[in-house]
Structure formats: structure tokens, C-alpha cells
Symmetry: D2
């Protein structure tokens, strides 16, 4: 099928604030971007609730997906003349880059947790089932959608291709660090991507880094570390996540218990029933979630109603440091006290934990291969054996545990003794 | 009331990608930001449909409103020690800056046109009627909401305050040029705001510019000119605007003609009836519009259904240059041909015009006062009498007229002769 | 000779703050950069005395020359697959770009004026006479140095090549605007070069601009205009230029009148004698000039001594606006008064004028061809016929005249009446 | 004396590419900048020979000194309303910031090593002896020069003032990291200074950092680490340093042995004699060094002549990794071989080592106090006890040893066996 090699007459460009321009050179990429499934990503925020902490972070997954595609395009440009690169993999690699986040739903983090979904599975389903995306991919050649899906699944035969899309220094991560830094206005996410691209070298199984570029990689790993703790795990963002999660929990609970919604959540029913049709899933986007929440502010169920008001009007939970391993008794006692004053601790006393491993040599769980340096001799060395800085942080997990609660509700407890006891147990200075 | 002078114990800051930090020093500003009416601006895109052309432009009016506030805060900082500045105006000026866009609805441009609304009127209503914003403003002092509303209305007595918020070089314009440039990634909107702030001088009636800063002002005016033609009037953005406008027209028409919606647009009914309650208006946001459009993709009315699919899935109209003054006959003939093949020209053959006057000495219509330079002698001179560049463009309106149409519908006309005639009249090369 | 096509095994890169990286792909370019003649450009400031006004502007012509080379490299990359580009011209074009400023001496502006030199002639001599540069160029092929020299001379047969190096939108100008803006910290010089490179199209006789890129070109022309008036013609910079010029004048005068220098200016003698050997010229650089001036601070001639102290210690002349056409009488009267108090007006009362023509259709004098837009129809239109902004400024020369004088000397005039009269004639408010 | 509080009528500003604007608010600062001693810093490169590796790094110490002053000005602005800050220290702090590098000579690193000088001593002498700077400082108040000198000397009583100028996170380091990153174009040196300034808190003895700003400090420390290894210790820069040092050694050796210079180094004689007059020292600058080197290219001594040509024309030494602790025998053998072919190993076989300690808790030797975080409780904690990243690198010295040699000289050794043996011992692959 001629589609495979069909170059656009004139390269199309998107103006992109992060990479300056995103260049589209192939008809198939152009057509994939135009599908409703891909356009849907415009209606899903890249960083979920982060915009409630960093107001600049309102960018969509569409934005990011183009960015990942562009980085992969540039990587291929740099390595395509090299021996270990198989020219036939170009298009599968570009398509996987573009489509890798296609299955994301709105506020994925909470969503997937509550409804036991996995966006990567949906990405693969969109690629493999009856969609516009699938139709276009099939025109490239027989079996092409399956190839792309396998790259997403990390089971594709050519491991080099997989490592470009998904490794500890892949196009996905490079784009989101730079992009999220740009939109939040946080300077920590910046690193010299151009330099990294210039020192990437393909080998049989993965991309390695010319050792002269080690410092740029160190800088990238530090940027990643900073972005996780400064932005992604920001406690205010997590407060919004906690509320969002509890809204979904409550709505599901109400549905299962026969509650009659004034505004029935048609688009969510199949989720409540644990039986999601792909076409239903594709109708879910941020606006739908906001619309339901907005309307649920007027539901009679006081918990749903309150939580939705909190989310829409940004009346978030406060928090304190809380290690639930050590302080289980305190937590139990707080639950009792909450129940005594009719505040349901299942919704209003929430432990949330974040943890991150900035770099590891063995991350088999996540399937992330380590980063290798290519020495002048040709030999390959794992990064942490050569970098003092990376060695120092390798394998060191950092954790953060917080307890979230609604300060206004506690303030308005009438029983003074209980209120005081709660504040004391929380060790929270209210002013 | 002590509120008036209540400074925050510790300055609060927002990380902002454009101004680096937005600083909040007053309790009243902090409280206004926390109101549902102000938080609603997070759900309204600053640039409406522009994100369909420049994918980076997904930022909200919340974003911009904080920015305008911050610029005004900095301006006051620079001028507060000067004689002509009345220290008592500080808070009214900051509040007006923060709230000036509060009355914007979703996709205001189309919205206001179809439903004959005016966002500035809504801004004033939100400030003056029963809202959280009003309650807070009233606590500052009696008559304070009225003062703020008058600044928005440009009828406030202290003209200097009005000119900071609304003139040919006001905080509003400076923020949106810089911000829209940042988010689109277009470099043209940049100018040296810090320098402009440093050369601003208050006089009795307005802010003037120290003549040594003339070049920075020239640069600002050129940036404005470029942003209008490169971004705001981009023909692809206008294509989406055209479709959006036609959706609202169609929905209103169907409502007025008793059409039974499968998904009734509850939130829009009062608009269709030309009788908008403030509380209803405040529930309108981008997600509501998207939600209805998404659902209307399945309505039985073919025009509503088609236009909504086009908007949601970004299947926009194509366009050609078209001067309807000169080419009225062509347009009439095209309408006839469209009707012959059952394409309703009221929805599918749309003339759209943009025009801009980059700078003018007399813009009484818009109420924008000209820019004055303060010469070393103390004398004031209107900018264009001193700047060769500005003089060259003063009063020169630039216009652009386009005709929009659905290329796919035309392509699928079966009557070959009519199709050819249409293409010929459109002077459109289809490939 | 194999040199011609000798590509480097591995591309060499220079880290450049303006273009991020300068890439060298050819052995001949690498070797030219390593010559003493090219390394000498490190010791000549790009902007002469501008660093005395904008302290950041300390960059050298080496810096800029690499930048021009890099821009030309990128232009060729963009156009090399197009029909009108002759692949054989690549190397001559790159070499001319790299070497175009090779003949600059220290503080060229003053230098050339006083000693009637022309740096372009020296550039050609370095390319054509017995130098390391010449030896390398000759190894490319017979007649190659002559080709490069002709490009510099704008008499090269392939006009397209000439236009890349020297036109109203050439690589030289694009680099210096961006670079000088970067180093001074002035934001006005920025424009979207990447966009301009993308819309450049080669034709038989020159580079033209795709009409969709018109706004980027407008922006470039405005940047140029701003940089001229904000930076290049800054009155403080010109004050230093005036002093520098007068030092050279004085030294030459003293030499011609048999003055015995304590520190004889060996390297300048051939200049004083109007008979410059190339090898002598190549030893002249900024350090030599500074060294002599530093030492001349201790010469017995009071004028040389004073002027050198002024330059080295930055005790510059003050200035007033002064139109010598209109105010000839005033000037003559001031000269008389200066002479009455033994201040030599030839050195201490100096008129300096700047003028600039931001864009012109006919600039035959300078040999700069106008900018053409390539319309979608393929037709070419001169820029000002299409751009409102450019049309407005086309052919409009702007001038600035100033009178420079040593304020301290005037202040210390003992005859009060004369002093007052001078201040009055100068219309200078001394505080 | 009124000078002390004399504010400028109008704030003076310098356009600065790093901090945007440097603001001068005090007459004394303005006057200090205008002194010949301070203007001299314009003629001394901030980074010595680094410009031979990073061509952008041509900025002067004048540049940096203004930057340090500006940072200190901003720090004081942030902390001046706080209790622990003594308002009377403002001017001494600003003057020390501005003047802290006043005693630097040209290429200080090499210079100080060869001639056993210490620039901090010269800084103090310039402040305390008969100079323009001293005269101005004395006008502030009696004993004022002594105060400023003591801050430089780190023996000033108010330790808080000392810590602003000189600690592990002082204004000096913040400026040079940002500035050197800007001019080289290397992105690693960037960190969020504005954030650090906002979280600085004065205590009795030093500036501490509010714990919420920990990540910004981590980022600063990583930037510092990267700049040291990427820029300051770059092996090519060190190659030029090695040559420079050897030139000074040779010239001194020749002088001491009665060599008759064609161009006698008048300005260096007192250095050769180990008896430097302050007035002589102040005449030394980069141009003087370049001028002598340029002329010495024609001296008859072959070593001086060769080394000067190498420096001026950038024909640097090559290098290999070389640990002289382990490889002493190899080094000795190489010296023997060099002597056998009449290449003097004292000048042509040079070991150079760099080492850095990115952060330490105890750095008494250098007098750098550790960084303290101020916890919400008010308690102070040393940074590495709280930051995983900093803890990981605390106290870890990194070293780098190289052996430098003139590849061309080795290549032209006629005795093939010796040549081969040298290449083998050097383990250098020549191509």
C-alpha cells in the first residue's frame, strides 16, 4: 500500500511553545492527528488537578502527545544513518510515540484507581478495535496496528524501538518534564534535550548515551527528581486528587445503592457497572466530569454535594504530615472522633502517600531498563557506576505521607472538647 | 472596617510562567480569588477557539486575570510615591484589575454575538448583585463595589485609575499580549514590559510615558499589531468561531421552533429566552458547552448534529479570500447553487471579516485615549507626533474578509456541473 | 583535490548562546577557524565602544563570524534540495560567510575614518594574499580564494550566493541583530529567525520569502530599526567613538609633526604613513590599542594624554541635540569661545551625526537589493507593496545630530562670563 | 557626612542581560563605579582562558561585579524590614559586594600561582591605600574603608553581612553561576535565584533558608556542580591555562637570567622582582598581557616564542587522563624521553589537576559556613540533614588529573622509536 511511504507534499508544522515547531512529514501522521480519538486528547488535561496549584498547568494530553512524537522524530533523524537502526521501524516508532497516551481518560490517576482501569490497555484497544485510528493504521500495511500496540505494550520485538518510547530516558519523559515545567512556570524541569539527542546512540537493544553527554543526563535526572517533588507530588494537588477520588467513590456507592440522581451520569454508568464499552469510554473527557460535578452540587446527598462544591469551587482539604505506619492508633482515634460528630471518615479523613525512586539500576517492576553510557572504548557502562551524583541517589526511594481533612467542618464542630482533641491529634495549628 | 487595610501576615505567591510570580499582599484580594465566581474563570479559555490553531493556547481567563492584577500591582509600586497618585485608590485599582473579566462567558465572542450579551455588563452585575464577590467587596467599605464597577465601566471619577485598567497601553493588553504569546509559542507578542513600567508616570488624568521609553512603546504597539494578525485573527481560528456561532444559532432556532432535544440544554434555556438570571449565567462555562455539543452530535437535526461533530472533532470549514462589498453577486449566486443541492447557505456559506486599527489618536468609539509621551521639558506629546513608526501606522485600519464553506459537502455534490461551478466561483483549488 | 569534499568524521560543535550550537561538518571550515587570522577576531570587539554603554556587549567578531557561518549552513540545509540552488556553491558560500569580517581592525568605525581604510578590502587581501587562510582555501581548488573574495566583493556571478551573505535580510544582519541583542540584554533585537529560514526560497538571482512569512520579516525589520536607535546609535557609545577618533587624529598629527612619543606606537606607524603592510595590519587588535592608550595617559602632550585618560577611565563627553545645518553660527561662536579659554575645539567640540534608512526599495548606493515575497501564485512582489507596516517606513531616513563636549573642562573655566555664555549656547542644564 | 545617606535624585540603571536591570540608588555606588580602579575591571575577563573553549565567555569582571552588587541590593530589599537585619549595614554591604573582585589581575589563576599573589589582598589594598576608591569610601564616614575591607577579609564583626558576600550560597556565587551560564550558553548553571532570594531569612550570624525553599537550594548546588565540571574545569580551558602559566614562568626565568627582551615587559618587572607597587599593579590588565605575548612571538628564545604563539593563535596542548600518584614512573620516563629529543619537559609535559567539593558541612579551611534551613518550627537544620540529594554528595571530593603535551612537537620527532615509545606511554591515539 502506497500509504506507507507517502510523504506530504509540503511538511506541515504546528507551532509549539516547547519544541518551537512540531513537523509532520508523513500523510499517516497527519491523518492520525485528525481523528476524533486523537482530537479527544485536547479535552483531557495533561496534569489532572495540578492546575489548581499551578494555574499555568492547563495544557492537554494533545499538546504532550505531539511533543513526544516530535522528540521521536528528531531522535530518528539523528540516528537513522547509523548501523543499528532499522529504517523500516521509522513509521511504527512515530505512530507509537504519537498514540502512546490515546487511552487516557479524564483525571486518569483517580479514575483508574476507583474504576480499576488501565489507560495503556485502552490505548491498545483504540489501536486494535474499530476506530478511525485503527482504520488509518491498517492502511499502512497488514498487521501494522498490532505492531504499534506491541510497542505500547513493550512486547515489541525490536527493543530499540521500545526503549525510545519507554525507558528511563525516553521521549515521553523528556517531553513531559520540559512541557510541564514550561506551563507551570517552574524552572526545575529544564535540561538540555538538544544535547541529549546529540549523544544518543542506537545499539541492538536500546538507546545508549555517549559518555561525553553524561552531565546532560545527570541534569535530566535531577530535573525529573525536582519535578516529582515540586510539582507532581505537590500536597495541594493531591488534596484535589483526594476529593476527586472520593467523589467517584461516592457516586459509585450511591449508584450501587439505588440513589436517584437528579442529573443521571449517563456517561459513567458503564463504569459503575464495571463493563466499559470502548465507544462510551471515548466520550468521557474533562468537560463531562466537570459538567456532572457542577450539576451534582445540587444533589440531595450531602456528601456528594459537598465534595463536588469543594472540587468545582476549589475549597480543598488541609493536610498534615502523617505516617500511617507509625500513627495507626492516632488515625483510628480520629476516625472515632469524626464519627462521633457525624463526619464520615471514609470521605473526610484520607491518607495519601507519594513515593518516588529517581533512578534505579533494577526497576524490573516497571520494566524500565537502566541508562547506559557508551565509553570512548566502545564499552557500555551503567550510568550510576560512572556518575557520582547518580550513584548517590540510585535506588533511594523517597516517600511522603499526608493526612487530609476538611478544616471548615472541624472548625464548626460544636462539641468543644472533641474539636480540641481532633486539632491536638492532628497537630494542626489553625489560625 | 479593618478589612480595608488588612495586609496578609505573609505575602502569598502564585507561580506564574509569564510574570514569574504573582504576589498577593491584601486579604481582600486573597479572598476574592477564592470565590466561586472567580474560580469559574478557570473553566473559561482565554482565547476561545484559538487552541484549535495554536495547540498551546489552552490557558484560562483565571490565568490572565491574575496577570492583569499583578501588572497593576507593579505599576502602583512604581508610582505610589509620586504626587499625582492618590494612595486611597490602591485597593479599588487592584480589585478592578483582578475582576475586570469576571463576566466573561464561554467563547464570549460567538456567545455575545448570538445572544446579544455584553460581558462587561455581567462583570458589573457580579460585582453589584448578590454574589460572594460582592459580599467581600462590601466589607472593604460602603460603596466600594460601586467604585470597582465604575472603573470597569470607565466612568470612575479618577481617570488615572481608569487609564491603568483600560487605555491603549493598559495592564489588560500588556498581560494578554505577553501571555498569549507565551502559550501559543509565538514570539511576536514579546516586548519589554519591565521597561514600560519603569517609564510610566502618573498625571492627573492618565498614565503617560517618559519620552526615553518611546522605543519600548513602539515595540509594544508592533507586538500588538503582530498578535492580532498572526494569532487573534488567524483564519483557522475564525473557521471554528464561525461553526460555533452557527451551532448557537441553530440551537436557538430549533428551540424557538419547538424542536425536542434529546439532551435538553437546561443551562442555555434562559439565553434562548433572552432573559438571563445571573445565577444561571454563572453556571455557564466551557465544559457545559462542550458537554452539550458532544451530546448534540447524536441529535436528529442534521445541521445541529453535523456542526457539533465538526466542532468537537475539529473538521473545520475551508476558506477563500472574499470581499463581500465587491463580490456580492458571486455570493448570491453561490447561495442559489448551495440551495439547489440542499446545503443551507445560512449555515454553510459564511462571510467573516476582521479589522484592526493598531493605534489611533482618536478612538472615541472605543473610549481608548491616546498614548502621551512626557518630554524632558515636562511637556506632553501624543505618541504619533514623535514616533516615525507609530505615525506611519496611526489611523490605518487593516481589514481581512473571508468566505467559509464545508469542503467535504461540496466535494460530495453529485451534480458535476453545479460542483464545478461552485469551485470556480470560490476560486478554490482542491487537491 | 579531495579536500573539497572532505567531511569531518564526526561533526564538531561549538556551544553558542545565540544559536545553541554551531556545527562544523567540513574539514576546510575547521581548518579556517584554526588559522591565526581567524583567531585574531577573538581580540576585536564586535561592537567597538558599545560596551561602555551596555556592559554586556563585550563579545568579539569571532563570535559573530561563527554565527553568520552557522546561519548560512542552516539556510543551505533548508534550500539545498530545491531546483534553483546549485550544490557546487555550498562551500564557497560557507567560506564567504565565515570569513566575511576577517579584515576588520580594532574599533573599525573610527579607525577606518581616520586612516581611510576599508575592512572589506582587507578581508579580500587576507583571502587572496600570502596567509594561512589563503593556503587553506587554495587547497580546495584552483581559483577558490578568488571565488570567495568575489562573494565578499558582491561581484560573484551567482547572485543567489551573494544575496545569502549580503542583502537586506542576509545571514550577517540576522546574526548581529540576535547576537547584539543577546549580549546587551536588550530585548528589541529578537525575531523569529527559525521561521524566516523556513520561508526562504531560492530563485535564480536571490533568496525570496514565501508570503506566509511576511509577518516574520516585518518583525525582523522592526527589530533592526529598534537596534539601530536603541543600541548602535546610542549617544553615549558615540561619545566614546568621538574620543577614540580624536585620539587617532591627535596621535597622527603628533607623529606628522615630529613629536617624540615616550611609548612609540610601532604597530601604528605604517598607518600614520598611509602604507599598510598586510602582516602589520594583522597584528593590530583591541589589546594593542588599549595598551598604547594606557601608556599614552603619561605622554606629555596634554591633549593626547587627556583624551586617552578619558577613554581608558570612561570619562566621556556630554552632549546636546545639535543640528549643524541650522545652527552653524552657534557652533562657530562656541569655537571662538573655546579658543579664548585654550580648549581646542578641533578635539573638544565635536558634531556627530547618525542616520538610518530602515528599509528601501532602491538602495543602489549600498548595493542592497529589496526583499521580495513569493505569492502563492508564484509571482514575486516587493515587500513594501504588500506590508502596510513596511510601506509606512520605506525610504524614510531618520537622522540624529549631537554636539559633544567635555563638561569638566567647561565647568573649570575661570572666566565666568565666557562659561555662562558657553552653557547658554549649548542649552545645557548642568547640575 | 551627608554622603552616607545621599540617594540619587533618579535611580540609575544599567541594562544587564542576566538580571535585566542593575539599579543604582546611592551616590556613593555611582561614584565608585566611575573610578578608574573599577573601570579597569572592564579590561579583565571574568573567566580567563575559558573563552578559548566557550567562545561566548568573553565577559569581564566589571560585568560580574555589577551583578553581585545587584543581587545584594535585592537581598537587602527582601530582608531590610526583618528584625535581625541592622539597617546601618546596608551601605557597607553594598560597597563590599561591588568591590569584592577589585584586586583581580589579568588571568588571575595563573598569575597568582606564578607570582605568589593573592587578589583578595590587592582588593583590600585598593580599598585602604591611596586610590580614588578609597577617597570616595572615606567620604562616607571615618573608618568606612576599613569596614569594607574587613567584610572582604571575612573578619567583619557582623557575620550576617559577611555571609551575604561570602558563604556557600552567597551573592558572588549566585551571580557567577548565572552569568557564566548565560555567556557560555550552557544551560546547566540556571537555577531559580528569585525563589532563593524570597526564602532567605536573616539571623544573627548568617542568612538561612526557609525550608520550603529547599528544592531551589538543591537545584543551585547541582548547578554549581555542573558548572564546575562542564565549564570551569574543562580540559581545553586548562590547556590554555597551562600554557599561560608556562609563559609567565619562562619570562620570569629569562628575566632572572639576564635575557635581553626585544620588547621589555615594563609593566611586569615589579612582579618579576617580587615587589609590586599598587599603582603598577593597577596598570596590569588583559590587553597588556596580550600585547606582550603578541610581541614575544618574535623573541629569540624559542620556548617563549613558541608558547606565546600557541596562546595567541590557540594552538593548545593535547591531553590524556593521568594520575600522577599512580603513574609517577611513567611520568619520569616521559621526561627522560622528552629530554632526549630536546623538548624541555618543564614546559612541555605538564600535569594539571582539578578537584571540587560540591558541598560540605565543615569547610573551615575555606571559611565557608554550611547552609541552614529554617524549619516551620523556627528550628535551624543544616541542609544535608534534610535533603537526600545534598546528603548524597556532601563531603565527596571529585578529582580530575590530566597530562598536557604539544602533539605537533611529538609528531615531528625524527627518532621513530622514541616517538612510538612516547605515544605508547601517553596511551594517546593520534589520527
Amino acid at each position: 500500500m502506497a500509504y506507507k511511504d507517502e510523504q506530504l507534499h509540503e511538511v506541515k508544522v504546528f507551532k509549539d511553545p516547547v519544541h518551537r515547531y512540531v513537523r509532520v512529514e508523513d500523510q499517516v501522521i497527519w491523518d492520525l492527528i485528525a481523528t476524533p480519538e486523537f482530537q479527544r486528547l485536547r479535552r483531557i488535561k495533561q496534569l489532572g488537578t495540578t492546575y489548581l496549584t499551578f494555574h499555568g498547568a492547563e495544557h492537554s494530553r494533545f499538546n504532550h502527545s505531539l511533543g513526544v512524537y516530535e522528540i521521536v522524530r528528531r531522535i530518528i533523524k539523528k540516528i537513522e544513518h547509523r548501523e543499528d537502526w532499522n529504517k523500516d521501524e521509522r513509521l511504527v516508532c512515530l505512530c507509537a510515540a504519537l498514540l502512546h497516551d490515546l487511552g487516557h481518560g479524564p483525571f486518569s490517576h483517580s479514575f483508574e484507581k476507583v474504576f480499576s482501569l488501565d489507560h495503556e490497555q485502552f490505548t491498545q484497544r483504540i489501536i486494535l478495535e474499530h476506530t478511525n485510528v485503527h482504520t488509518i493504521l491498517r492502511q499502512v500495511e497488514d498487521g501494522f496496528p498490532e505492531k504499534v500496540a506491541k510497542v505500547i505494550d513493550k512486547t515489541y520485538e525490536d527493543k530499540l524501538v521500545v526503549s525510545i518510547i519507554s525507558s528511563q530516558i525516553d521521549a515521553d519523559r523528556m517531553d513531559y518534564l520540559l512541557r510541564d515545567a514550561y506551563y507551570t512556570g517552574v524552572s526545575y524541569g529544564q535540561f538540555d534535550m538538544e544535547r541529549i539527542l546529540r549523544v544518543m546512540r542506537p545499539t541492538k537493544d536500546e538507546i545508549v548515551i555517549k559518555s561525553t553527554g553524561m552531565h546532560a543526563v545527570e541534569d535530566y535526572i535531577m530535573s525529573r527528581y525536582q519535578m516529582y517533588w515540586q510539582v507532581y507530588f505537590h500536597p495541594v494537588t493531591r488534596s484535589a486528587e483526594v476529593i476527586l477520588t472520593k467523589i467517584f467513590h461516592r457516586a459509585k456507592y450511591l449508584y450501587e445503592n439505588g440513589y436517584k440522581f437528579q442529573m443521571e451520569p449517563t456517561l459513567l454508568l458503564s463504569l459503575f457497572q464495571n463493563d466499559v464499552e470502548l465507544q462510551d469510554y471515548l466520550q468521557l473527557d474533562d468537560p463531562a466530569v466537570y459538567f456532572y460535578f457542577q450539576r451534582w452540587k445540587e444533589e440531595t446527598d450531602p456528601i456528594l454535594n459537598d465534595l463536588c462544591s469543594r472540587f468545582i469551587d476549589r475549597k480543598l482539604f488541609k493536610y498534615v504530615e502523617f505516617n500511617h505506619e507509625i500513627e495507626r492508633d492516632t488515625y483510628d482515634r480520629l476516625c472515632e472522633l469524626f464519627e462521633m460528630v457525624q463526619i464520615d471518615p471514609n470521605y473526610y479523613l484520607v491518607i495519601d502517600s507519594s513515593s518516588d525512586l529517581p533512578y534505579d539500576v533494577y526497576r524490573s517492576g516497571e520494566g524500565r531498563i537502566p541508562i547506559y553510557l557508551q565509553m570512548p572504548s566502545g564499552e557500555e557502562k551503567e550510568l550510576s557506576t560512572h556518575s557520582v551524583i547518580v550513584d548517590a541517589i540510585t535506588g533511594k526511594t523517597r516517600e511522603d505521607h499526608k493526612l487530609y481533612f476538611p478544616i471548615e467542618k472541624i472548625r464548626s464542630i460544636e462539641d468543644h472538647a472533641i474539636k480540641e482533641q481532633i486539632f491536638k491529634l492532628l497537630n494542626f495549628r489553625d489560625h
